[in-house]
């Protein structure tokens, strides 16, 4: 009733459509195809996360394995470090070693706490850890996506309007866990630069800042769902967005009857929801703007998947961005980091790690 009146008044005063509108890609987020033309450095269908360890080597989580990848000028070597019983969801460096998160819990690999397994945090079994980061004083910052749905079912959490994400801090020295924030709409990325911690709250399409015990707002109104964040060498950050927002999805989120029926009767791969990659299967939903004309798919067609990495300044102001537009291959970027003068981006939708030299990106309009 209220919603109906609100819409009628919006109609009269011409602010119609404000509840399904989505921010446009403009300014620092003006679309380009840098991610599509970037060289592919490494390919594996189950790529999930990557991190630089304390010696500066690139460690990549693929499926159940952690691989050490050497990207030489002519050659590429990969060496398996360890294989875990379940697929790895997140990876980070902690001190001298690594921490890997699976559906069973956290596993510490190499370094001081090698072999330690943690399966319960804050009296909850660990189920859906999406990102890990090393915090100040050697604590481990953990984001939990959702307490209700498994990691692979993130689309279900989005359509359900899930708000059970958490930001946790685990101190390996004492074994204690602190819950910094609860009831986040799918926390999917964490990064700390000493004084403050950035957390991406995906379904709320924003980045929050945790400082001195309070949560402040950082960057709001993103045109996509943010995921992992990493530090840049100049004090800024690299923010990845793994899926685009769309007006049709905002509309479907407000249509309860249709949404519940869709979630009950239709296969999850074919829901009206964003995806990490799209365009290969004709059973996926299509929007009118996505119809090919004269053999051409227009680049600004409504997107079901998208590739986007944004460079933020230390004040969390977007400076420039790298895109893979509709019709491109490298969508679903979930991790980005700086390595040896290049930017590496991990595309989970395509199963690739892309690398671009950093010098080029400075001059963007």
């Amino acid at each position: 009733m209220f919603a109906y009146l609100k819409r009628a008044s919006e109609r009269l005063f011409d602010s119609f459509g404000s509840d399904t509108s989505v921010p446009v890609f403009d300014g620092a987020l003006k679309p380009n195809n840098l991610l599509d033309v970037a060289p592919v450095l490494f390919e594996h269908p189950e790529l999930t996360d990557m991190v630089l360890d304390s010696h500066g080597h690139l460690m990549v989580a693929c499926g159940k394995e952690i691989l050490k990848v050497e990207l030489g000028p002519e050659h590429l070597t990969r060496q398996q470090m360890i294989e875990l019983p379940k697929p790895i969801r997140a990876l980070c460096k902690l001190g001298d070693g690594l921490v890997a998160a699976t559906d069973d819990g956290l596993l510490f690999v190499n370094g001081k706490y090698d072999g330690r397994k943690v399966s319960i945090l804050d009296s909850q079994p660990i189920q859906c850890v999406t990102a890990l980061c090393e915090g100040p004083d050697g604590i481990l910052l953990i984001t939990n996506g959702s307490l209700q749905t498994a990691c692979d079912d993130w689309a279900k959490d989005l359509l359900d309007g899930g708000k059970t994400g958490q930001l946790l801090a685990y101190d390996p020295a004492s074994g204690k866990t602190h819950v910094y924030a609860k009831k986040l709409a799918y926390a999917y990325g964490v990064c700390s630069d000493g004084a403050r911690t950035l957390v991406s709250e995906s379904w709320a399409h924003r980045v929050l800042v945790w400082r001195n015990g309070t949560m402040e707002s950082g960057l709001n109104e993103l045109p996509g769902y943010p995921s992992r964040i990493s530090k840049a060498s100049d004090g800024g950050f690299w923010l990845t967005l793994f899926a685009p927002r769309s007006q049709l999805l905002e509309f479907v989120l407000s249509e309860n009857e249709f949404r519940t029926e869709m979630m009950q009767t239709v296969d999850p791969t074919y829901w009206i929801a964003p995806a990490l990659s799209s365009g290969k299967d004709f059973l996926e939903p299509l929007q009118q703007g996505g119809v090919r004309q004269m053999g051409v798919l227009k680049p600004w067609a409504p997107a079901r998947s998208y590739g986007l990495v944004v460079k933020l300044s230390s004040d969390l102001v977007p400076l420039y961005s790298l895109h893979s537009r509709v019709g491109g291959a490298n969508h679903g970027i979930v991790a980005a980091l700086e390595f040896d003068g290049s930017l590496l981006a991990l595309s989970k939708g395509a199963g690739r790690i892309l690398g671009m030299p950093l010098v080029n990106q400075q001059s963007q309009d």
């Binding site: 459509g17 399904t20 769309s246 007006q247 049709l248 509309f251 249509e255 009857e257 249709f258 029926e261 869709m262 009767t265 239709v266 296969d267 074919y270 829901w271 009206i272 004709f282 059973l283 996926e284 939903p285 299509l286 929007q287 009118q288 703007g289 996505g290 119809v291 090919r292 004309q293 004269m294 053999g295 798919l297 067609a301 409504p302």
Partner: protein, 702 residues
């Protein structure tokens, strides 16, 4: 529950709202409604409202004011405004009284001179605004002041003389107070002038020029219309109409006072705006002017009859004007948008589960890449070749979205020429026995290109109008595919009666039975609708018995067979009910089976949306067209089926590079030729077991 839903969406006429709003005459329906509401509300409040006397008084007044409203309407239509009508009215009033009372002229010359005077005053406005291009508002405001000043001077000098004589002309008395068939004579004059003005505005060139100048001054200028003269003449007409009203008023009242016509321009403007005549120009009609006059006069007279003080009446008028202008601007600005939202009325479409297309399934629809390496003809040279056809010399013909029929010459199909230009978007094609090419042209109808002279002839573009349809379905909007029976009758499909060629994807969101199959008989020239309420009928193909035809219903994903002759005449049977996609054209294969093009594939989310009409309705209202869900017409395939509906095989272009959407295929001498409406190429593939002599339309050598 679902059957209830199905019945509700089939029989409840929610599409009537959108269709009614799309009609041109609906614009006049709004002030008519307001008038009826005003009459109803005031007749219950004011006593003797509907008595003969008060109605007669009302008609007399509206007969006078109405003339000024006509003049104002003409000026508004041409894009200007005339605030000086009150002053012109006053001067003409005192002038005619002076001429008749004091100078004792005969009535007709006095009327003639007064009309001339009104015209001259209007011409002052006309020259200043039309030729010197001054702003209408300021100029007429100035002339209002100047003419009123002149009036005050004149009236002061002549008042006593006018009052002290009484003319003894019977004609003058009759004009003012006489009746004819118990209605005042001024009303009869008004009616005659209204009819003539209506004919002038709607049927005569002068009226069209007036509307053109008001609608778009620059375009009218570029078309060569004398814009300045037309504008000036509109002001002259306004002055003359004000003079007519003044004459009738003078005949009725017979005396002058200093406040004649004071403030009458507000009343007249309110009447014009309330009737729906736009301030911006280009829109207006006599009916709207009359309705506006009646509304304003009823409101002011009733309020006066209720002893409401004059100040409140003025405020009421001002409020009415404000409301009318606001509604007019908002309605006019949003009419297109509101119309496009209200017009789409989604229906309930429940389909059986689709057949399996998975690569690993054993079904004949399994995805493959048999069309992955076709030979391309006309790449980037033709756009939207929806259908392709070949003649007995193997030349290839296709339509393009520029309205051409293009011919590619055998055997290599490199050289092309425009065979004929029709217009519209040519869709399905067929050759008759003599080699004349019949083409269904979307947006135009069924056309024929003569073989010898290549002359384009219209076969038919209209059929019988159904009684219960609000939309005028006698015109053919989207003639899609055709086939020719053995006796020469042409059966063709009209995909939808509610949408035009350029907006056919919107019909996919409706999923209603908006289409029909029509029969045209060239020997008699008669056109007749044979089947109605079909869901986007698309491909049509004659069956082997010569008494029936196969046709596709696209959004319902089924193929039907219709008997038009023989013992089963009139029956329709579904032969394939569970297609995994949306069928388009159907053509004969060389082995007695049929090729069917599937232009798009079903997806579970869209199928669910087709069962949720209210969801689609809200989606159409709240999202822009680019964001709407669409059937997946980016991927298509070709299937072969028997006459009983058994699907034998399917051919796909798995990558979608060359043939993302296939709307038609034609088998000819062992090759299969593919066309697509969103594509800019034709594909050709050799069929391993195709008959090397097979021609679908054998042409009799003359």
């Amino acid at each position: 529950m679902n059957t209830l839903k199905k019945l509700r969406y089939r029989y409840w006429p929610d599409r009537a709202i959108g269709e009614l709003l799309a009609k041109q005459w609906m614009e006049t329906a709004v002030p008519l409604l307001v008038l009826l509401i005003v009459i109803a509300s005031f007749s219950s409040v004011v006593e003797n409202f509907l008595s003969f006397n008060s109605v007669s008084m009302l008609l007399r007044e509206s007969g006078e004011i109405g003339f000024i409203v006509f003049g104002m309407a003409l000026v508004l239509i041409v894009g200007g405004i005339d605030l000086s009508v009150g002053s012109i009215y006053a001067i003409c009033n005192v002038l005619v009284l002076y001429l008749i009372h004091v100078l004792e002229w005969a009535v007709m010359p006095a009327i003639g001179v007064t009309l001339l005077c009104g015209a001259l005053m209007g011409a002052v406005n006309g020259v200043l605004i039309g030729y010197l291009k001054l702003r209408a508002f300021l100029t007429t405001l100035v002339t209002l002041i100047v003419f009123r000043a002149i009036f005050n001077l004149i009236q002061f000098n002549w008042a006593v003389e006018i009052a002290s004589t009484i003319p003894d002309s019977v004609f003058w008395d009759e004009l003012g107070n006489g009746d004819f068939l118990s209605l005042p004579i001024s009303i009869w004059i008004f009616v005659v002038v209204a009819v003539l003005l209506h004919i002038f505005l709607t049927r005569m060139r002068g009226g069209w020029h007036l509307m053109a100048v008001g609608g778009s001054r620059r375009s009218a200028y570029n078309s060569g219309l004398p814009v300045r003269r037309i504008t000036a003449l509109a002001y002259v007409a306004s002055g003359m109409f004000a003079a007519v009203a003044a004459i009738l008023f003078a005949a009725r009242v017979g005396s002058s006072s200093a406040d004649t016509g004071l403030g009458i321009e507000i009343l007249v403007l309110a009447a014009a705006l309330l009737g729906g005549i736009r301030l911006g120009g280009g829109k207006g009609s006599v009916a709207k002017a009359i309705l506006g006059t009646l509304i304003v006069l009823i409101v002011t007279n009733s309020l006066r009859g209720l002893s409401v003080p004059a100040g409140y009446i003025r405020m009421c008028l001002a409020a009415i004007m404000l409301a009318a202008v606001t509604l007019d601007i908002r309605w006019f600005k949003n009419r297109g948008k509101a119309l496009s939202e209200l017009y789409v009325s989604p229906g309930y479409l429940d389909m059986p589960a689709p057949a399996d297309t998975a690569v690993e399934s054993r079904s004949p629809y399994a995805v493959n890449n048999r069309l992955g390496s076709t030979e391309l003809i006309g790449l980037a040279q033709v756009e939207s070749p929806e259908d392709v056809i070949l003649d007995e010399q193997d030349n290839l013909y296709c339509g393009t979205r520029h309205g051409d029929i293009v011919r590619f010459f055998a055997p290599d199909y490199q050289r092309m020429e425009v065979y004929a230009h029709i217009g519209g978007q040519p869709l399905g094609m067929a050759f008759d026995k003599n080699g004349n090419l019949y083409v269904c042209v979307g947006g135009m109808g069924l056309y024929c290109i003569k073989r010898d002279s290549r002359a384009v002839e219209k076969a038919t573009d209209e059929t019988g109008r159904s009684w219960l349809s609000i939309v005028d379905d006698s015109r053919l909007r989207l003639a899609d595919d055709l086939d020719i029976a053995s006796d020469g009758r042409i059966f063709f499909s009209e995909a939808t009666v509610r949408y035009e060629m350029h907006e056919w994807p919107i019909d996919s969101l409706e999923g209603r039975g908006n289409g029909r199959i029509i029969c045209y008989d060239p020997s008699t020239g008669q056109t007749q609708t044979v089947l109605k309420n079909l869901v986007f009928p698309n491909g049509v193909c004659m069956a082997s018995d010569g008494q029936s035809l196969l046709f596709a219903e696209s959004w319902a994903c089924r193929i039907n067979r219709y008997w038009f002759d023989g013992p089963k005449k009139g029956t329709v049977e579904v032969i394939i009910a569970d297609l995994p996609g949306y069928p388009d054209n159907i053509n004969r294969a060389s082995d007695g089976n049929y090729w069917i093009a599937i232009m798009g594939m079903r997806s579970p989310a869209f199928d669910l949306a087709m069962r949720s009409p209210s969801f689609r309705k809200r989606m159409v209202k709240r999202l822009g067209q680019d964001e709407w869900l669409a059937p997946n017409i980016n991927v298509g395939c070709v299937i072969k089926c028997t006459e009983d509906g058994e699907v034998l095989e399917s051919l796909w272009d798995q990558s979608g590079e060359n043939h993302p959407m296939i709307t038609s295929m034609r088998e000819h001498r062992g090759y299969l030729y593919l066309g697509g409406i969103s594509n800019n190429r034709i594909g050709r593939i050799k069929l391993e077991d195709g008959d090397a002599d097979f021609v679908q339309f054998p042409i009799k050598e003359a």
